[in-house]
Structures are given as structure tokens and as C-alpha cells.
């Protein structure tokens, strides 16, 4: 057979001397890691998963809740921060690792060089429903070509792939004999599988017929799609065969892997629940859902930690927020350092600015989104958001919101930051603050209360082409460091301010015997 390319093939048993342990659950993988960590304290772990960002955060939280991992530096690299971590990734190719555990999404699964960095690699491929073939799984397994031990976490698939469009084979047509009708049928078939993602076909507006834009891409899609399904139908066996062909010393089937761990220890290992269960637990703690043994145990734990005198079997949002997944002590210490002038970092300085911007309304502070957006603190945050977000991720484990996209994202991010300094915060949206459009009615009434001061300021602050509004004066006064105007604002103005979307900031009550 003649071919129009040259194949230069190099064979090397890259898995020689290595072992792969097949795991079918996170619990089993964690127990294997924990076991390894007890033998080797400085264990470096690479955890590659096809989960998305939120799930990676859950994974990190789950790892940190295992005592042996609690002091480990666990780093996440995924599509959101891969650019920001560019230098670190370049360093990995040179053998410089900057963490103990690297949790990565598929953004690092193929091609990236990580040789000689890790003692153990965990590949969590969730299920064959995800589009990774055995060849791609092998690519993931050999990211660190020197790593001696691999755990492959994959559920056994007893009934093959599920019956859904993405797992349907596409019959390959006779490409030479394609009619418009055939292209039409093919386009519908592909679009059923890939949703609206394709733009392979276009309808000619004159003839109203389907035309392929790039037949080569359509062919590739069908061939690659079918190949992927055929491989994934037997992904476990295919991966095992491929691993052995690459010189693997030992493959531990699931049963053999299970024999490596003590069943009792596996039973005792507690894994923090994923988000949907956490949300359910949250509702149980609030009394919105019926209490369960787990929620009662958690309630008692929180009550004990916060020294709460619980009379009913429910907590408030504020109490749950104060506990902050058991991070309350760290948060309190951060707050103590902040107010003793020892915070000494950019995040601490930003928190102080936010607290200064928030104005006293009774027992709470309020910072409206409008006022915040007029402040120098916001401008600093907006200009340097990527840096602030990285600092918050690394120092506080704070990830959301990731971008300043929607109107209140900056305020939300500020609220999350304050929580890490032991302040209770709530973002109140337009729906909550101005449900009956009260603001419009209040405007004139509020303006009358401080008309003289407003007019005086407006004279010196005329805007070209637009009217100076009462609001402009309010945000100016509230952002003025030297003013304590909020204390002399009259009732209608105070009410008016509160009709704007805002951040509510409150102190937590001091815990009884907190320092005893």
C-alpha cells in the first residue's frame, strides 16, 4: 500500500517499572493517597480530572478536610487561571513545582510537560460518557513520565454507554454521491448530537438548499466521533491493554486495589459532601428541610465551636456564615490582625477601605453599589482584579465571583472578601431593595431634606451635558473620608439610600469564652 506521508515511529516502554491502580471511587483514591502520605510525608500529588472549576474547588476542600492533607499547599489550574499560571507551567517543564498537590482540569491533560515532579498521579475520568478515549487517558497518565505510581479512577461501566445522541454512531455516507438531501439529513444528524455548536452547513438563501462549508471538517467530525464511541465502549479494557503495551509493570484490577487498603479505614474515611448535598444540608440547618442525623451532628458541631446556646434545632444564616466551614478561627485571627495594624497586605488594605466606605445604619453598615462604583477603592479593584483575585485565591481560598461581569459582581466579591475577615455580609439586589419602586417617590422627599447642602455642592460640580443629581452628591459625601455625613442624614435620605442595591455588613456577636 502506498501512502503520502512518512511515518517515523519511535517506541519506548514509557510505563516500564510503574504500576496503575484501578479505583472506582473518590473515597478509595483518597484512602490510597492517605496511605501513601503516611509512608512519605513529602508526597507530591498530581490530580488530573475532567471536572470543571467548581468541582475542582470541591475536590480541594475535600482533600483539605482529610487531616493528612490539611497543611498541604493544594493548587488548582484550570481554564480560568491557566494564563495567570503561565510562568508556573513553564517552571514545571524545568522541574520547579510550587505546590504539594496540583489539581488540574483537562487544560493540562495533553502535551504539557510535568516530568519528574510527582510521586503519585491520580487520573479521575469520571465516566466513559466524557469524550476521552483510551489514548487520551494514556496521555493523561504519562504527563509526568517519571511518576512511578498511578491511580486511575473510573467507574465500571456494566451496561456500556448510555443511549443518548452523543453516543450514537453516525453512518458514514458515500461522499462521492452526496445530494443536497443527503447533506440536509447529515446536518440534522450532527446538530442533534452537537447541539448548536456546529457551523458546518449553511443554507443558501437563494436556492434554499444546504451546502457544506468544509466537507473535510464534516468528514473528520464523523470519523472522530465514531472512533471515540467505539473506543469508549470498552475504555477500561482498551486503556489496560494500551498500558500493558507500553511496558506497565503491574495493573491492579479494582479488587486487587481494594485489597491494598484496610476496609475499616476506608469506612472511617469521611469525605466532605459535594455542593448539592451541602446545599441540602444548609437548608436542613436553617430548618427549611427536616433535620437528618448528619444535619444534627453538624448543628451540634457548629453550636459547640461557636459556643451557641441553641434552643431550637435550627441555625440562622448568620451563624452558619460565621462558622464558615470551620474556618471561623482563621477569619477571626485575620480580623484581629487587620485591626491591630498587622495585616500588611493588599487584601487587608482593601478590606479596611471597604469598611471605611460602608456607612453606619443602626447596627449595620451599608455600602451601595452606586457609591462603591464611584469610589477609588472600586477603581483600584477593577483595574487590578486579576491580581486581587489571585491573592484571594491563594491566601483565602476565595474563588467566586471569578469575573466582574454582572452589575453586582464587584459588590459580591467585596462581600466574600469581608466574610474572610469575619464580617457577616449580604448583597441586597434591586428586587429586594426597591420592590415597589419606592425610590422614585422618595427622591424628591429626600432631596428636600438636604437641599441647601446639595445646591451648594452642585454649583461647584456642574457636569457638562447632564444634570447634577442628588445621588451624585450623596455618593460624593459618603465616599469623602473626612465626612461623617451619614450620621446627620435625615430619615428620608437614609431610606432613599437603602433602596439602592447594596452590601450589608454586620459584626458577628462575640463567641462566649472565645478567648478563654
Amino acid at each position: 500500500m502506498k501512502r503520502r506521508y512518512k511515518l517515523h515511529r519511535h517506541q519506548y516502554p514509557i510505563l516500564a517499572g510503574k504500576e496503575i491502580l484501578h479505583s472506582n471511587s473518590l473515597k478509595l483514591s483518597f484512602e490510597l493517597l492517605r496511605q501513601r502520605l503516611s509512608e512519605q510525608e513529602e508526597l507530591k500529588v498530581f490530580f488530573l480530572t475532567d471536572r470543571q472549576r467548581e468541582s475542582l474547588e470541591t475536590l480541594r476542600r475535600q482533600l483539605l478536610e482529610i487531616p493528612q492533607f490539611s497543611d498541604k499547599h493544594i493548587k488548582i489550574i484550570c481554564s480560568d487561571n491557566v494564563e495567570a499560571e503561565r510562568e508556573a507551567i513553564a517552571g514545571y517543564a524545568q522541574g520547579a513545582l510550587d505546590c504539594d498537590v496540583l489539581l488540574a482540569s483537562p487544560s493540562l491533560n495533553i502535551g504539557i510537560r510535568l516530568n519528574g515532579l510527582f510521586d503519585i498521579t491520580v487520573i479521575e475520568s469520571v465516566s466513559p460518557e466524557r469524550p476521552h478515549t483510551s489514548l487520551e487517558i494514556m496521555q493523561m497518565m504519562t504527563r509526568d513520565a517519571d511518576c512511578p505510581r498511578l491511580i486511575w479512577q473510573e467507574k465500571l461501566q456494566n451496561n456500556g454507554l448510555t443511549d443518548s445522541p452523543k453516543n450514537w454512531l453516525i453512518p458514514e455516507p458515500d461522499w462521492e454521491e452526496m445530494t443536497e438531501k443527503d447533506w440536509d439529513a447529515l446536518s440534522k444528524n450532527i446538530e442533534k448530537i452537537y447541539g448548536s455548536k456546529t457551523d458546518f452547513f449553511e443554507r443558501d438563501p437563494i436556492s434554499n438548499s444546504y451546502q457544506p462549508r468544509r466537507a473535510s471538517l464534516i468528514k473528520r467530525t464523523i470519523k472522530h466521533h465514531n472512533w471515540s464511541i467505539r473506543d469508549r465502549e470498552n475504555r477500561l479494557e482498551n486503556t489496560k491493554a494500551l498500558a500493558l503495551s507500553l511496558g506497565l509493570e503491574r495493573w491492579f484490577d479494582l479488587q486487587e486495589t481494594k485489597e491494598l487498603v484496610c476496609p475499616q479505614k476506608l469506612k472511617e474515611l469521611k469525605i466532605a459532601p459535594p455542593n448539592y448535598i451541602r446545599e441540602e444540608l444548609h437548608k436542613r440547618l436553617l430548618g427549611e428541610l427536616e433535620a437528618s442525623p448528619d444535619s444534627l451532628a453538624r448543628l451540634n458541631e457548629i453550636a459547640q465551636d461557636l459556643r451557641l446556646d441553641i434552643k431550637s434545632q435550627r441555625l440562622t444564616e448568620k451563624q452558619i456564615a460565621q462558622w464558615d466551614n470551620k474556618n471561623y478561627l482563621d477569619n477571626e485571627e485575620r480580623k484581629r490582625q487587620l485591626h491591630s495594624g498587622a495585616s500588611g497586605n493588599e487584601l487587608g488594605e482593601l478590606v479596611l477601605k471597604l469598611l471605611q466606605l460602608g456607612k453606619d445604619f443602626g447596627k449595620m453598615k451599608i455600602l451601595t453599589d452606586k457609591q462603591f462604583k464611584e469610589s477609588s477603592a472600586f477603581m483600584e479593584l477593577e483595574e487590578n482584579f486579576a491580581r486581587f483575585q489571585r491573592l484571594a485565591q491563594d491566601q483565602l481560598g476565595l474563588y467566586n465571583p471569578k469575573k466582574l461581569e454582572t452589575e453586582l459582581d464587584a459588590l459580591r466579591w467585596a462581600g466574600e472578601l469581608l466574610k474572610k475577615y469575619s464580617y457577616y455580609t449580604e448583597v441586597k439586589t434591586e428586587k429586594e431593595t426597591n420592590p415597589n419602586r419606592e425610590r422614585a417617590n422618595l427622591y424628591q422627599q429626600a432631596k428636600k431634606e438636604h437641599l441647601r447642602e446639595f445646591n451648594k455642592w452642585a454649583k461647584g460640580n456642574k457636569k457638562q451635558g447632564s444634570q447634577v443629581r442628588y445621588d451624585d452628591w450623596l455618593w460624593f459625601v459618603l465616599n469623602d473620608k473626612n465626612e461623617t455625613a451619614e450620621t446627620r442624614f435625615k430619615p428620608k435620605t437614609k431610606r432613599y439610600i437603602q433602596t439602592f442595591p447594596h452590601l450589608k455588613i454586620e459584626e458577628y456577636p462575640e463567641r462566649y469564652s472565645a478567648h478563654g
Binding site: I14, I89, A90, K223
Partner: protein, 206 residues
């Protein structure tokens, strides 16, 4: 056994060349031999491009995007990419359309390198497939004198497509025994490896 490949890509003649070797055999590292040459590197991941540029700054001097001072990505315009101030350019498949129809200057390359084709095959069909990128991709393969594919695996449908592209390029067909050979480490023969492959029938028929 030494797994380190040391390929001089400059010795390759006109045509399509597939280099198949497992991870970490220095396939990509061998691009060092193309320092100072006009090289277009196409990948399906920006993280991969960035790491290659960092490893081989004299081969791949620029990418289709740059990182700003606050570590944000800034994608270059068609005009910027068309200027061709540097010899080696790394670009994501999804930005290939920016190399098309650049009126001011048409940019040609002597070497086209496709790193991890299997990833590119997935990316081009599953991640925002776009006929404009595909058109440029095909044009580059057809018109660049030396095309190099670097990867650990080449399933049969990839090879079929590469073969078809060879027809469009007008490359002469060669017999299997002429175009197929195994690069042995340090020209040494490793009986264990052969036995292993025989036992497992790996890539039977190739």
C-alpha cells in the same frame, strides 16, 4: 534505555512527516533544530503553546496572543499576526482564520508543525468548529513545504486524512516499507522492546 530523541528536522525533505513517540521522548524538544527557521506551530491548547514557547524561545518567538501586565490574555489582530516580524509563530487552531486574507503582507512558512494532532482532531470537531479555521488549516498543510506531525498516537482515521491531504499537496506516494522505520535509541537494538510489542500486537499492521 535512553528515551531521548534527537531529531534534526532540517534534514527532512518536502512532504508530510509523522513522528510518533510516547510522551517525554523529546519530540517537541527536537524543534530546537528549527531555530531561526520560518516555523508555524499549530496546537489546540494555549497552555501547550505557552509552554513550548517558553521551552524553545528561539524556535517559537511569538504566539497569537500575549499576556498583559496584569496576566490577562490579549489576542493579536489579523494585522499584527500578518506582519511577521519574527520567524516562528505559535497559534491555536481556533485563531487560524487570522492568518487568512491578510492584505498587507502574506505570511509564508517553510515548516508547519502540528503538535498533538489527536487533540487538534478533537478540538476542531468538538470545540466551536469553524470552517474559516479549517480552510486556513488545509491551505497551510497543502502549501507549506514541510509538514511535521508530533504525537503519541495516530489512529487510523488520522492517518487516512493525512494521506488524503498528501494527495491535495501533490506529494508522491511511497511504499510502506520505504516510509516506515523505527528510530532506535542511539542506534541500538532492543530485543525486549520488540518481544514486548510482538506479544501484545501493539499497533498491529503498522
Amino acid at each position: 534505555m535512553d528515551r531521548h530523541l534527537d531529531i534534526d528536522f532540517k534534514e527532512l525533505g518536502r512532504g508530510q512527516h509523522i513522528f510518533q513517540a510516547p510522551q517525554s521522548c523529546n519530540k517537541t524538544g527536537s524543534l530546537k533544530s528549527l531555530e531561526g527557521e520560518r516555523v508555524l506551530l499549530i496546537c489546540a491548547r494555549n497552555s501547550l503553546l505557552a509552554q513550548i514557547k517558553s521551552r524553545l524561545p528561539k524556535t517559537i518567538q511569538t504566539l497569537h496572543y500575549e499576556t498583559t501586565i496584569d496576566k490577562q490574555k490579549r489576542y493579536k489582530s489579523k494585522q499584527e499576526l500578518g506582519k511577521g516580524e519574527t520567524q516562528g509563530l505559535g497559534i491555536n487552531y481556533s485563531s487560524l482564520y487570522k492568518l487568512s486574507n491578510t492584505r498587507d503582507s502574506h505570511r509564508d512558512f517553510d515548516y508547519l508543525v502540528i503538535d498533538e494532532p489527536i487533540l487538534l482532531w478533537s478540538h476542531s470537531t468538538q470545540y466551536k468548529p469553524d470552517w474559516r479555521n479549517e480552510s486556513e488549516y488545509l491551505a497551510r498543510i497543502i502549501h507549506t513545504p514541510v509538514v511535521i506531525y508530533l504525537g503519541a498516537d495516530f489512529p487510523e482515521h488520522l492517518l487516512e486524512e493525512i494521506d488524503e491531504l498528501g494527495k491535495l499537496r501533490g506529494d508522491d506516494p511511497v511504499e510502506d516499507e520505504d516510509d516506515f522505520y523505527i528510530i532506535e535509541e542511539n542506534d541500538s537494538y532492543d530485543p525486549d522492546l520488540e518481544t514486548l510489542n510482538e506479544q501484545l500486537g501493539w499497533r498491529e499492521g503498522w
